[in-house]
Symmetry: C2
Subunit: 182 residues, 2 copies
DNA sequence: ACGAATCGAGACATTAGTGTCTCATGCGAG
DNA sequence: CTCGCATGAGACACTAATGTCTCGATTCGT
């Protein structure tokens, strides 16, 4: 098998990220056109819309994992790792955020990915709590929610033209840590 | 004209809130069935999906205004009003949040409503800044974003069963004020 | 150069959602 | 009681999206 498969699939996934980010309700024909492939070719690689959304979700999760892994590999503390990870995730939000409103969480693979991400984040936050970054009396679940939603808030700042990704990440981190400190 | 009109429209709007909150992509037939009315009757009151979404948005905005107005009428400071308003808005988030992802912002009435809400919130935050609640060096736009998204985070806590609305509101307010304090 | 595999384009049938229309029913006002 | 109006049910046509299939062209490996 040639790598044309992989390349075509990548093009389709890239187009899907671009198109669905602008309009989550776009048709598969729009995605195919934007990818520069025929509609039939899209169906050769993804059986339907649901399949495509699942693939996008898994791709997004892998991108996030890689970005966070790369950014935090030299971090000495969980606290610093969370800060650096926030800065790495925020610029990717534009590509991934539309997936949050997709009802694709029925797929077991997607559910597993989401569960893993939430679990890992909760673990890191617990460790950072032990390092003194957060008030131990505040529920870890809240810090998880605040982490995710302040990233979203930062991304909104960026798209509104009110901040650079770096500035938005700094604001989000400051608000999170100072807001949940002892 | 009897009040049957108003009653039917109210039933349809209530059903639409309930159905779209669960599944934003639900069909108008689903809404009509849930409202206990015929599909034709729905079309007699709302010309189509867009019209219905606009009506939902305006209804939601009015509900928010009324709830905030009622909750904050005795507040002496802008800071306290923001805190009380947060507690009033959070329980309504379950009804309204699906509208955030609706592409109905093309309608001029909806756009005006959103602009007004954002402007008023920014104004109140500026006043609260003057009262010392927030660090004046932090962009008001950021505090607006953080306010909205921490409400969303609180609502997520509630739906996950990890907090009561009151607890979630307290966490959101604490995180916001402490996180953006001087 | 040859062959296998993939691709783009387009035809086709199917489905879901939508918008309109008609008609019989029910219910309240007068 | 009767009239009028809103309704529920359902038929109908229209549209957009989807999924499948075929065919000719292209491309890559051998």
């Amino acid at each position: 098998m040639r790598d044309t498969n992989v390349s075509t699939e990548t093009h389709i996934l890239e187009a899907a990220f671009a198109v669905f980010s602008q309009n989550p309700g776009a048709s598969l024909a729009d995605v195919a056109k934007h990818a520069g492939v025929g509609r039939a070719t899209l169906h050769r690689h993804f059986s339907g819309r649901d399949d495509l959304i699942v693939a996008l979700t898994l791709t997004a999760a892998r991108e996030l994992d890689e970005a966070v892994e790369e950014a935090t590999k030299d971090c000495q503390t969980y606290t610093h790792a969370l800060e650096v990870a926030l800065g790495a995730i925020l610029p990717l939000a534009a590509r991934h955020m539309f997936l949050a409103t997709e009802p694709a969480a029925n797929d077991p693979r997607v559910a597993e990915v989401y569960a893993n991400q939430t679990r890992d984040l909760a673990h890191d936050i617990d460790m950072a709590k032990a390092e003194g970054a957060f008030d131990p009396h505040i529920p870890t679940e809240w810090i998880v929610q605040a982490y995710d939603n302040l990233i979203y808030a930062g991304w909104a700042m960026v798209t509104a033209g009110d901040a650079t990704p770096k500035q938005a990440a700094a604001l989000a981190w400051r608000t999170l840590t100072q807001g949940t400190a002892k």
